[in-house]
Homo-oligomer: 487 residues x 2
Amino acid sequence: MPRDPDVAQRALAQVQRLLHRQHIVQQITERQHFAEDDARHELVSRLTHKQHEAELRAVIDDLHPADIAYVLEALPPDDRAEVWGLVAPEADAETLGEVLLEASEAVCESLVEALSHERLVQIAAALDADQLADLAPLLPQAVIDEVTQSLTTEEREDFRAALSFEEGSVGARMVFEMVTIRDDVTLETVLRYLRLFDELPDHTDQVFVIDRDDHLKGALSLNTLLVNDPDATVADLMQTEIFTLHAEDDASDAAQAFERYDFVSAPVIDRRGRLIGRLTVAEIVDVIREETEEQVLSAAGLREEEDMFSSVWESAKNRWLWLGINMGTAFFASRVIGAFEGTIERIVALAALMPIVAGIAGNSGNQTMTLLIRSIALGQITPANVRRLMLKELAVALANGVVWGTVAATFAVLLYFSAPYVLKLGTVMFMAMVLNMLVGAAVGMAVPMLLKKLGRDPAMGSSVLLTFTTDSGGFFIFLGLATLFFS
Amino acid sequence: MPRDPDVAQRALAQVQRLLHRQHIVQQITERQHFAEDDARHELVSRLTHKQHEAELRAVIDDLHPADIAYVLEALPPDDRAEVWGLVAPEADAETLGEVLLEASEAVCESLVEALSHERLVQIAAALDADQLADLAPLLPQAVIDEVTQSLTTEEREDFRAALSFEEGSVGARMVFEMVTIRDDVTLETVLRYLRLFDELPDHTDQVFVIDRDDHLKGALSLNTLLVNDPDATVADLMQTEIFTLHAEDDASDAAQAFERYDFVSAPVIDRRGRLIGRLTVAEIVDVIREETEEQVLSAAGLREEEDMFSSVWESAKNRWLWLGINMGTAFFASRVIGAFEGTIERIVALAALMPIVAGIAGNSGNQTMTLLIRSIALGQITPANVRRLMLKELAVALANGVVWGTVAATFAVLLYFSAPYVLKLGTVMFMAMVLNMLVGAAVGMAVPMLLKKLGRDPAMGSSVLLTFTTDSGGFFIFLGLATLFFS
């Protein structure tokens, strides 16, 4: 059991110190190798290595599986392999399973690769059905086959069910373990029944009341169970109007409900109203974290999270898709400028000023888009208020366009004060700023709304599309106006 | 009690429908006003309005306070005022307090303004000390003064303590309500003691064992309490090695611990080891959501979250700080280009190609920065691995620079194939792309690290600084190389 929030960081620092020391010791002994005879060298080297391993193990053994995963993630591949090589043979299968579940996908892959078929089977056999389903995509098929053969019929059904739910659904996130009771017993009976358990499933804050056919009839919170007279019956005290999820429900909708109503767990039913599992706040915390991380990563054009130490090649590939798309949009913007080369040749100041028009509108549009994506995520955008919201954002863009257009025009005028065309230049600057800010706001609203209508993640690639429009649009408006004014 | 995740959205749609219908009814009756006599018109209008209010109230009354807050947030100001005007006089003070606590700050302000001093005092008096401290910044001082006078000494101390903790600390997030026991009693006694409560504090998954001086000695989980023999003593079964937070600890560190170890609650002690409160997963969920939202908002250059329907003026102001900073960086980049006007005048193709160099490096640097900010947040960056990480990112940037530099150079060569200087142009393009990608990666790493060293949020304004460098740097490198090659 970790004692405070810094346990993992302290352990990581210790492990890094031990590894560093060992690297130095190795270098020294290798140098001595030439001076001494082989046998003695071997012995010393083996002894120091043993001690080193014992010290490392002493740090790791006390850690929570999640902390082991954290330490492994922060180590470069060779050190990671060394530490994992010490942990894997010694720790019990359950702990190893939890380490694998806690590690990020990229790191988990490298850990699985280092384990033998037998060890993987032991680990997989120690997992619950829902955990096995989570880990299944990263395990060799032979391991899955061997483990599923040894499952009970019920476990195998749970496993198949867990695999069948779509990613991002409540079903894919739920756990099967829970406590169920009937409504015709007294609290005393429930208390006696609970004493039969070695321990209750994690995050049991309520037990579920079902009938003979597994239909969910209500829930009895531990709170109610503990503060009431043991002679009362479950039927008298259970809550019948309870928050219930369906396995097909969207996990992020469920997360919003957990946030709003402060749940610890919620029952999950299938289409026929039968209780099939439970969603807990521990999973919800992961859903929220993953959701926002995905948004941040996809906004930067990264396909997936990276192992911090993945190879240069792997990392580069992860970033190519969006860099490629960006290249395309940049080429297009470049061609827009190219179309006005004649004008630029005559008034070269335009080349220096055009990035301002494109850049500010891009930033302003990004602000609009960020707020809109957030409102969409919070479910605040409805057909009834969308028109009003659009008008407001266009008004803000217009106000900002006038303010910053004036600033930019003044700058341009002061800079090229001696030029004969200075007033025209200022006018073009001002008009282009206002227009392009409006373009930025319109696109900043249209893109996430459109993506949402198409059933996509409203944040996905939206900033690339926005920059594309404010760049190409900005160059076109600015240089186009200049061509008109100066012809 | 909400029954499913869509309760709030359904209620919002109903409320919007009712408000829309009433707007139409009003328009019609106003038109009829001229045709009919005044008295009858008054009567009809009053009756339809009463019915309208009753229908609205029927929708709102059943809602959870958090859902009321959600509905209010999604309504434009006049509609919001109307609905709040119906809710505020009828609902009990406790519900109103929860609505205020759940609403975003911007919306909460407008709700508080609409309440009388007396009503605010009632609401504030119904809050727990920690909730009162959360709401205090938004309440008039007169209300706070009046309420604190009626608090018990202990409550007043709790309130002062809650106010004294820094924002972002565990103390500012903790609740004071909890159950404490002594270690020399049996589980049976604990069970009898719990039955004295009307209900246990929210998120009670463990009770804390303290000595006479309030020193935390251990914890007894409800799980342990429920599965063990009632005759056993607390001392035999309590966990003594428990995860403990200090009031000064950082709330986001605590959030990481909750995520990793799947806690529902954790005890909070003061500097002398005395138990002073509890942190629950409900607060942690809020911490995680707020943290990531702040990151997304600040990356877009927004000072704070906006009320969706705040005035154009308020919205524009919220966005000015960063737009202004951006304006400054854009001016600087513009001056860099201006310095090379002579070169551009001779080879106007440079003007069309330079945004490509700046844009791609900016995006590539942003990818590096996003990954680094994430790794910093997860505590994976340590002095021991930072050098290795930097070399890796520079290698990725070099690889990407070679790949995309070749693509861009090919594009430039094909485009200006007939020009006499085409090969020089391609060479300049390639070299500038590689160099600027390296600049992007270096700055993308340096900025968050530096901000972190200065004790700032590593994400704050980092993208503005990055774009500044890749834009100005890109223009400088590209146009500078061109000037060298073509002179």
